[in-house]
């Protein structure tokens, strides 16, 4: 249904110019293609035709009356006129009406300089007004939410914001109350409008009625330096504009890229950049707590590493990175450890995953053009917000169907035609069952007792996949347990072999550059570009004769070996194992045993406190390079702020130099170019090619592990499921964050039957205990997961949920104490 190519076009003339556009294009958009501006207020291309403001009146030959260009689809042979006397008079009239009660706020209005009402009045409006009566006065600046200010006097009732809330967010949270000149943008009972995407209304409001409270009166828009960059929070990598003044972050606004964000950003982008000026930043290199120069710090790191390698061998040093680094930074680090230090002790995660896919890597736009989306273990709303909007669009406006397979309830269930909840920890068995069903065989008999999902239900999923023309599988590897990622990839391979179906997938790990980290080979067993260790010749050809070929330690193994004393030195880059690793509460002790702990990070962390040497990482806003998003699209992140501290890749190159590396990249582009040369899949990634909308890297070799069964899980109590939360109170969103009002209390979600068994009721304060650790939380009897499981949203660093999870175990058992 979605595969039909739209070749139908129509040709019309607008002000004498001939225009050919796809059928269904509105005249207002057709005019844009030949640089004819028809003024609008209410029309927004992402919201579709509405026609309430009358600003876009035009004349069309053979039509008796003027008509709104935003609601009129271009027709074959249409003759459109936008500059007749009649049109100009109408434009003046509409503007005179629009301005009747509008306050004279331009001199103090934040929208000034980028305001469609100013611009349209300047270009099309009457020079004065005939209004002799008092203007209708309304409430001036009042909070619509803690971060949005509404000035109802400025509102021109275009309804963009309310339609956005309805059509894009699908919440209908913001509505128009009353009618006529008394209408009023509001929420139910005037509750705060604080959704995850609320800030976009500021950008689409054509006047200064909705403004960014944090930005209000801090700078005139024309005094801002605007940098086109990327969001550095989640792995959607939305495009955004960073407005700065005097080297300080002032505001973040949308920068539409239909291939990535579809024109929107989430509130974490808009208000989650306070970290660029937080007092918790690491601004100075330090050694044993004392500030030192960066060169001294790098020399020290190199010398210590060298000494340790000489004394204990290359396997005594290791690197734990994270998907928060840019491709250039991560690439440089793995190169340092592999070629300068000779070890594969390199990793960036604590879950199992392998690079590449046995099927095509689908991009975000494929979500809309598929017939079926299969969403596995993913909660886009909390993990990848812009994917949430894209999915809602696909389901409600593009006729795409969705199957959700998850162990916890999510907001996506509402949009799914089939939503199956498997038991927490049973994903491996479930996926094996799905694979069997896809192969047309019947499932193991214990499927339902283990997973809570029947073989008939899985059969139905398989049937839907088989009968769809194009299927997009989106999965979150972080939320899969044990080694079930391998089973998932086998499912993909099986589905990919179906004759009638095109199958692609999107690995949807939430961290910014998770896909890039995999591609860059920040892994103990795979070189960049999915190059497996078994491919010794290829590795030697690319990385030299001394490149290590034996498997290195995973991140969790490195912690283990640090504890046992076998690992002597560790560089931890943009990662906070003490809080974020399973058994985090024991990580600190392990790290203290190291001879050398170097932490290279942006914010002060619990781990940085333990380090002998701390190096500053500049992070989003300041750094420059590429990231690869969940759709495999590589884009350019540019800097809007400057600092004296060197970039991360530069620090790595300084350490490498001390270790005898003769060549050094002269700037970040040189690193990007080296990636294009060395990393399979990235050969086309050049600055010029990605500058505008980014570019998909080509497929990275698929290194799929064998499907090891994790066995049946035995233990007592409930199986823990940690859930991601978008506005988590961590180092990035600290206590001073503009988004602090979004922080949630610590809660634990139970099934009714388990609540009864543990004798707890809604609202009880309890302690969730396991793995020698406890977390305080308030009980919610929400049936968010099946009986036998328990969901703990990770609402803050302080809460310490990851310590409940046992390192190296597929599942963790916890129990509840009052």
């Amino acid at each position: 249904m979605n595969t039909a190519t739209q070749t139908d076009t129509v040709t019309l003339t607008i002000d004498g110019k001939t225009v050919t556009v796809p059928k269904g294009t509105m005249v207002v958009d057709a005019a844009k293609t030949v640089d004819i501006e028809i003024p609008v207020f209410c029309y927004h291309e992402k919201l579709g035709p509405f026609g309430c403001c009358r600003m876009c009146l035009i004349e069309v030959e053979k039509m008796p009356k003027m008509i709104t260009a935003c609601t009129l689809a271009a027709g074959e042979g249409m003759v459109v006129k936008t500059t007749t006397e009649k049109v100009e008079k109408a434009q003046k009239g509409v503007l005179e009406f629009t301005l009747l009660n509008h306050p004279l706020d331009c001199p103090v209005c934040d929208k000034g300089g980028e305001c469609p009402l100013q611009d349209n009045t300047f270009k099309f409006g009457p020079p004065d007004t005939r209004m002799e009566y008092n203007r209708f006065n309304r409430e001036k600046a009042t909070p619509l939410s803690p971060v949005i200010t509404i000035d109802r006097e400025r509102c021109i009732a275009c309804q963009r914001c309310t339609r956005y809330s309805d059509i894009i967010e699908k919440d209908q949270a913001l509505v128009m109350r009353n009618r006529g000149f008394q209408n009023r943008v509001s929420t139910f009972k005037d509750q705060p409008y604080d959704t995850r995407f609320s800030g976009n209304v500021i950008d689409i409001c054509p006047v200064g009625a909705l403004t960014n409270t944090d930005f209000r009166f801090t700078a005139r828009t024309w005094d801002l330096t605007n940098t086109n960059t990327l969001c550095g929070h989640c792995a959607c990598n939305c495009n955004m504009t960073l407005g700065t003044r005097l080297n300080e972050m002032k505001r973040v606004t949308t920068r539409p890229n239909d291939l990535v964000d579809d024109g929107w950003i989430c509130d974490k982008a808009r208000w989650g950049y306070d970290f660029t000026k937080s007092k918790n930043r690491i601004t100075q290199p330090r050694k044993q707590g004392q500030s030192v120069g960066i060169q001294e710090a790098c020399t020290e790191v190199a010398a210590s590493l060298q000494k340790i390698v000489e004394a204990h061998g290359p396997s005594s040093v290791g690197f734990i990175g994270s998907g928060y680094g840019l491709n250039e930074d991560l690439y440089s680090y793995q190169k340092l450890f592999r070629t300068n230090l000779g070890t594969n002790n390199i990793d960036h995660k604590t879950y199992t995953d392998t690079p590449g896919l046995p099927v095509a890597h689908f991009d975000l736009l494929d979500v809309e053009t598929s017939d079926l989306v299969v969403l596995i273990a993913s909660d886009p709303t909390e993990e990848l917000p812009i994917l949430d909007l894209r999915l809602k669009k696909a389901m409600t406006r593009k006729g795409v169907q969705m199957i959700v397979l998850n162990d916890q309830q999510t907001l996506m269930d509402k949009y799914a035609s089939l939503s199956l909840r498997y038991n927490v920890g049973s994903d491996g068995v479930l996926l094996a069952g799905l694979n069997t069903a896809l192969q047309g065989q019947s499932a193991e008999s214990d499927l339902e007792s283990t997973t809570g999902v029947s073989s008939n239900q899985l059969q139905a999923v398989a049937e839907k996949i088989k009968s769809a023309g194009k299927v997009c599988v989106i999965y979150n590897p972080v939320a899969l347990t044990g080694s079930s990622i391998h089973t998932l990839k086998q499912c993909l391979a099986t589905a990919g072999g179906l004759a009638e179906t095109t199958v692609g997938a999107m690995p949807a790990a939430p961290v910014t550059n998770s896909v890039g980290a995999m591609d860059m080979g920040v892994l103990p067993d795979v070189y960049p570009g999915g190059l497996a260790l078994t491919d010794g010749d290829a590795i030697k050809a690319k990385w030299g004769d001394t490149a290590p070929l034996e498997k290195g330690l995973s991140a969790l193994e490195m912690i283990e070996k640090a504890k046992s004393g076998e690992l002597k030195a560790l560089i931890v880059y943009r990662s906070n194992p003490v809080v974020d690793f399973p058994s985090g509460h024991e990580v600190g002790e392990a790290l203290k045993k190291l001879d050398l702990l170097v932490v290279h990070d942006m914010m002060e962390t619990e781990t940085a406190k333990l380090a002998q040497i701390v190096l500053p990482s500049n992070g989003p806003g300041f750094d420059e390079g590429t990231t690869t998003n969940i759709g495999g699209r590589v884009q350019l992140r540019t800097k809007g702020l400057t600092t004296d501290n060197p970039a991360d890749w530069k620090i790595v190159s300084m350490i490498a130099k001390e270790l005898g590396q003769e060549t050094a990249p002269k700037d970040v582009h040189a690193v990007t170019a080296e990636i294009a040369e060395k990393v399979t899949g990235y050969q086309e990634i050049k600055r010029s090619a990605i500058r505008k909308q980014g570019k998909n890297r080509e497929a990275v070799a698929s290194a799929n592990g064998a499907s090891a069964s994790d066995g049946t899980h035995t233990g007592s109590g409930l199986i823990l499921r940690v859930a991601d939360v978008l506005f988590s109170h961590d180092k990035i969103l600290d206590a001073e964050s503009n988004l602090a009002h979004q922080f949630q209390p610590s809660t634990v979600h139970l099934h009714t039957s388990d609540a009864e068994q543990f004798g707890v009721k809604e609202g009880d304060e309890v302690r969730v205990t396991g793995n020698g650790h406890e977390v305080k939380a308030e009980v919610r009897i929400s049936n968010r997961c099946n009986p036998g499981g328990l969901v703990l949203p990770k609402v803050s660093d302080e809460q310490g949920v990851m310590s409940l999870a046992e390192a190296g175990k597929a599942v963790s058992w916890v129990t509840i104490r009052k």
Partner: protein, 158 residues
Amino acid sequence: MFAFNDTSETRIKKIMAKYPEDRKVSALLPLLTLAQAQEGYVTPEAMVEIGQRLDVSPAYVESVCTFYTMYYTKPVGKYVVKFCINISCHLNGCDNLMEYAEKKLGIKEGETTPDKKFTLLKEECLAACTEAPVMQVNNKYHVNMTPEKIDQVLGSYK
């Protein structure tokens, strides 16, 4: 808490049966009418309840409810007196009539008498312009109004 009573529920069943499942929001106006009939005005709780039944947000229900002046979102008196203030009635002196009524009832436009008998409201065109100025009391129109007629009509409402 708001709950529809049994009579309303019977009506609701009939009303909902008229619309296909994916268009059930069409039942919004009738449901608001029932809620108002039950409580005298539409309470926020009723909006929540209606929203849940029709799969729309309470904010959406509120937006529709406040669009129509015949739905009340605050308690009103036994008799709701509305003066049309639109163009024909305006030209025919509705302002004076409103002022007269305000004095007579001792309340301002938008208010309710302490005995909860009368609520005074203004209204846009009541579509009886040929007989302007127009006054409406509950569901009944009174046309070609004068101060004397106000006395007479309001006097007849006990």
